[in-house]
Symmetry: C2
Subunit: 202 residues, 2 copies
DNA sequence: ACACTAAGCGGACTGCGGTCCAGTTTTGTT
DNA sequence: AACAAAACTGGACCGCAGTCCGCTTAGTGT
């Protein structure tokens, strides 16, 4: 006999989890949420979570990979609600409303969601502050805002500049070039397109 | 007598540096560049830099603050050249060309600059990869691309979606809300404006 | 019920980022 | 030239993220 075929995996369920493992995951998540609630995300240590959940430190890392992964897992519930809302929920966020309407609602909902969980997001992504405070970034932003003004664009130029710079973010560009296998030329074309849209006469 | 007034500081020269300090800074930068060249940015440790420059570890931190700061300093030269180029250099990047032209050139130049120094940027911002690979991010991106398609937008929808998500990046939103003192309502308005520009009939 | 195996466990251990402070060097002042 | 204040130095020290490996336990086939 040939070995039995694996059932096709749906929706990224990479591995079934043993019962005790699942129990520990739940204990760990509860402990982490509790500790964050109590002392703030920035003071959360992996060891403290392990201790509070009465398991070894190794278990925490086995379950969540690293600190970032733990934060992701803690955020997961809120994340799921958000996803449900914009994929299957009521309009205007969910299906039923016209697409532009949904796009608008998406941003507003995202910003609310972000503010709700900001401390965790911030802590999950250290060195974030420095990225935006660094002089080179500030100079670039001013430069872009200036050019936008000269080009006759009206609106919140500082915000538009920030958005445009976002699409030149080193980490994002790297991700697009490597993981997504995009060519530099595509990114250049994308930039030109973005400039065209933003500077288009309204 | 009243105490003498501080001279107005021009162009962010926050503090004059003692001679030995400046010498050490130079030694450290040289050592860091050398080590990066030789072993790659990801294997650079603060202690190794200190040892290679024959100074104490404390000195490295005093000069550059932290690991991120050291990378920034290493990038500083290339950064300055870039800045010179787009602020004072020849057109189309520098002054002289029409603003839209300069905006276009800016992105192209930035992307080139990025690719040149990508390994350092990537290393300076750890956990960046995870940010873009994480399932929630991917789902949101697909969702946006889908809506853009439904809204009749043509072009590289994946890239446009990535750009739009960039302006909802937690770290950026946090920075705008706190350091820049923007109100959530302003960010919401910015998002709506962005949607309008991107979905505008071409 | 029993044995077998793969998954899970835990905590000692490592390495690095970042801090601290007693001692040293530089620089301005008299 | 001598002094005093301020700035700088270096390396011992600390805390935490992440690894490793010998031991335990849950699921599975008989």
């Amino acid at each position: 006999m040939t070995p039995p075929l694996e059932p096709i995996e749906l929706l990224a369920s990479p591995a079934p989890e043993r019962a005790d493992a699942a129990r520990n995951r739940a204990k760990l998540l509860a402990a982490a949420a509790e500790l964050i609630q109590e002392h703030g995300a920035e003071h959360l240590t992996m060891e403290a979570v392990a201790t509070a959940a009465c398991v070894g430190k190794g278990t925490v890392f086995r379950r969540f990979g690293d600190r970032f992964g733990l934060f992701l897992a803690v955020l997961d519930q809120a994340e799921c609600e958000m996803q449900q809302a914009f994929m299957f929920g009521p309009p205007p966020l969910g299906p039923g409303a016209p697409p532009v309407e949904r796009l608008r609602a998406f941003g507003v909902a995202s910003l609310r969601h972000l503010r709700q969980n900001m401390d965790i997001y911030v802590e999950a992504d250290k060195s974030a502050a420095q990225r935006y405070d660094a002089p080179p970034r500030v100079v670039r932003e001013r430069h872009l805002a200036l050019l936008l003004g000269e080009a006759g664009v009206s609106g919140d130029l500082e915000l538009l500049a920030a958005t445009m710079l976002g699409s030149l973010d080193p980490a994002q560009v790297h991700h697009l070039l490597t993981v997504r296998r995009r060519a530099l030329e595509e990114l250049e074309a994308g930039w030109l397109d973005l400039v065209a849209r933003i500077t288009a006469p309204s």
